[in-house]
């Protein structure tokens, strides 16, 4: 188990982060410059924290109050660098065996990890002779061969192209099943967090926005910054109007009133953000009664390979416009062009509110 509470200031930037990580994968999800890599550096001991502590399996490895700083070599942390940091003058086998203590069966360990990461046959290759995905696997194998108490992965997939990412993601998913360790994975890509995380912590500007079980965070983020960062296209300022007997909440965006499912956090009069994914906004094509209808004009149509991101003109005066997705076929069928009148509707259960 890893427990930490750390802070570090560089000029105007301050990182503050505390968490407890059991034998699970915690994903630190944040845009670049939010302090993700810095958090890993502080835990690993590459950078000295201004204040705070790190405890790993009950052992204090850093504590500014007690003046404890355990050297990196005694921390038992496996670190996978974004740029792999493989030793360029060593073969795959020597990279993997580099950290093994004297007297250990080096060839057995190398064989085991080469097999796990599909590197068999590449043992005598130098890093420059390997592909990006293979290098990343060697870096993972090297860290794991040392039997660390904690794994830190700094954007393990970001430098790889799409096809290699998919196969490495599969390997990481296998690893996740086999491994019983605390793991912190840092990424700016919410799909990685979705695939690999047990829990997700969202950072912005060095501060924790929210942290929780992955499915909760993704289904219903509490803060509008998180919602935006998780790719929710429609995040619109609104005001709570009232709650009815069933607990449904009515919010108003200017003249437009929308009902969303019960949410005990909000009371009438609260300023909130109304959120819904573009994929959940529906086009109203007939006279049937639909919940939360809204009529507007198409502002612009942005093609995104087969589908189109359709932006409507503003919801409230000067505010953002609603965004929805439409297939090429639908665009053609209904003759949608910039300026066309359009009516959409929102399924209540897909919408949620954020602070």
């Amino acid at each position: 188990m890893l427990e930490f509470d750390l802070s570090k200031t560089y000029g105007a930037f301050t990182l503050n982060l505390a968490a407890t990580v059991g034998n699970e994968w915690l994903v630190l999800l944040a845009p670049s410059g939010a302090g993700k890599s810095l958090t890993l550096n502080l835990i690993a001991g590459m950078t000295k924290p201004d204040a705070g502590y790190v405890r790993l399996n009950g052992r204090t490895i850093s504590d500014t109050a007690q003046g404890v700083t355990v050297p990196m070599r005694h921390r038992r942390i496996g670190y996978v660098f974004q740029d792999y940091a493989l030793f360029p003058h060593m073969t795959t086998a020597r990279n993997i065996a580099y950290g093994l203590p004297k007297g250990s069966d080096r060839s057995a360990v190398v064989e085991r990890w080469c097999r796990f990461f599909h590197l068999s046959g590449k043992e005598e290759f130098y890093p420059r002779e390997l592909s990006g995905g293979q290098r990343q696997r060697v870096a993972l194998a090297r860290a794991l061969a040392n039997e660390p108490d904690l794994m830190l992965l700094d954007e393990p997939l970001s430098a790889l192209d799409r096809r290699i990412r998919a196969s490495l993601q599969r390997d990481l998913a296998d690893l996740k099943n086999d491994l019983s360790l605390p793991v912190i994975l840092v990424t700016h890509d919410f799909s990685e967090a979705q695939m690999l995380g047990d829990r997700v912590a969202v950072l912005e500007g060095g501060q924790l926005l929210e942290m929780g079980e992955k499915r909760h965070i993704f289904a219903h983020p509490r803060r509008h910054e998180t919602a935006r960062f998780l790719g929710v296209e429609n995040v619109i300022p609104a005001r709570v109007e009232g709650r009815d007997g069933d607990g449904e909440v009515t919010v108003a965006m200017g003249e437009w009133k929308v009902t969303v499912p019960s949410d005990p956090h909000f009371m009438p009069g609260d300023a909130v953000y109304f959120c819904i994914r573009a994929a959940d906004v529906r086009l109203k094509v007939d006279e049937r009664e639909r919940p939360n209808p809204f009529s507007a004009h198409v502002a612009r149509i942005i093609p995104e390979g087969g589908t189109n991101r359709v932006e409507l003109n503003h919801v409230t005066e000067g505010g953002p416009g609603l965004i929805l997705l439409m297939d090429d076929y639908v665009i053609g069928r209904y003759g949608m062009n910039p300026g066309s009148p359009i009516t959409v509707w929102l399924p209540s259960e897909k919408a949620f509110l954020c602070v």
Binding site: M72, R73, H74, G78, Y79, G99, R142
Partner: protein
């Protein structure tokens, strides 16, 4: 050439080897500090270390004379405690060569050490290695070309040292007269045969050294 005529060559090699070893040991430490550590007065330290590249050798020699002469505190302490006399001995010539060659060693070595990604060193530390093992197995193997290049520069500079050596060690035939000084002497005395012989030997040797190094370092990491 007589046995005495060979003396300057033998002395010069002895001075250059000794000075290179000292420069490498001292210089590696300094270059590592400059490449990897941040400390107050780093720029000033660098300016002082690099002085011998720009200051006239005679001025450098004069400073060394003042600091290490028997009348100075340091000079008399070295003589009383270690029996080490620097001024007007071959050891003084070593001192002059070290001072002159150190910046030429530090410059490429510092660049070579800085070119080693600190992530590699941190990766090695996190895999349980001590600072010495990290240097021996990661930093040095990746920076050794620069270190060899620096060592050769230091050696070549030590071989050719003239002004500072003349100030500190003097020109005592059979005791402190190095090749460069012997060539100057021979030319002044009109002994063209001696001058030509020494010049030819030095030239061939210099070319051989550089050729060896370029062959030795080619095609490796």
């Amino acid at each position: 050439m007589s046995v005495q005529d060979w003396f300057p060559i033998w002395l010069t090699l002895r001075i250059a080897f000794t000075a290179t070893i000292i420069s490498v040991v001292l210089g590696l430490g300094i270059a590592w500090l400059m490449a990897r550590k941040q400390f107050r007065g780093k720029n000033l330290a660098e300016a002082i270390i690099m002085q011998p590249l720009v200051i006239p050798p005679t001025v450098m020699g004069y400073y060394l004379l003042v600091v290490f002469s028997r009348r100075s505190a340091l000079g008399s302490a070295l003589e009383d405690w270690f029996g080490l006399t620097l001024v007007f001995t071959w050891r003084g010539a070593v001192l002059a060569a070290v001072v002159a060659s150190l910046p030429l060693f530090i410059k490429p070595v510092r660049a070579a050490l800085e070119s080693v990604d600190t992530h590699l060193e941190n990766a090695a530390r996190l895999l349980g290695k001590t600072e010495w093992t990290v240097f021996r197995t990661v930093t040095f193997p990746l920076a050794w070309r620069g270190i060899v290049a620096g060592g050769v520069m230091a050696f070549a500079r030590s071989m050719g040292e003239f002004g500072t050596t003349l100030m500190v060690a003097g020109n005592i035939p059979g005791k402190t007269q190095t090749v460069s000084i012997a060539i100057y002497d021979a030319v002044q005395a009109g002994d063209d045969a001696q001058a030509n012989a020494l010049v030819a030997i030095v030239t061939v040797f210099s070319i051989l050294v550089l050729w060896f190094v370029s062959w030795f370092t080619a095609g490796r990491y």
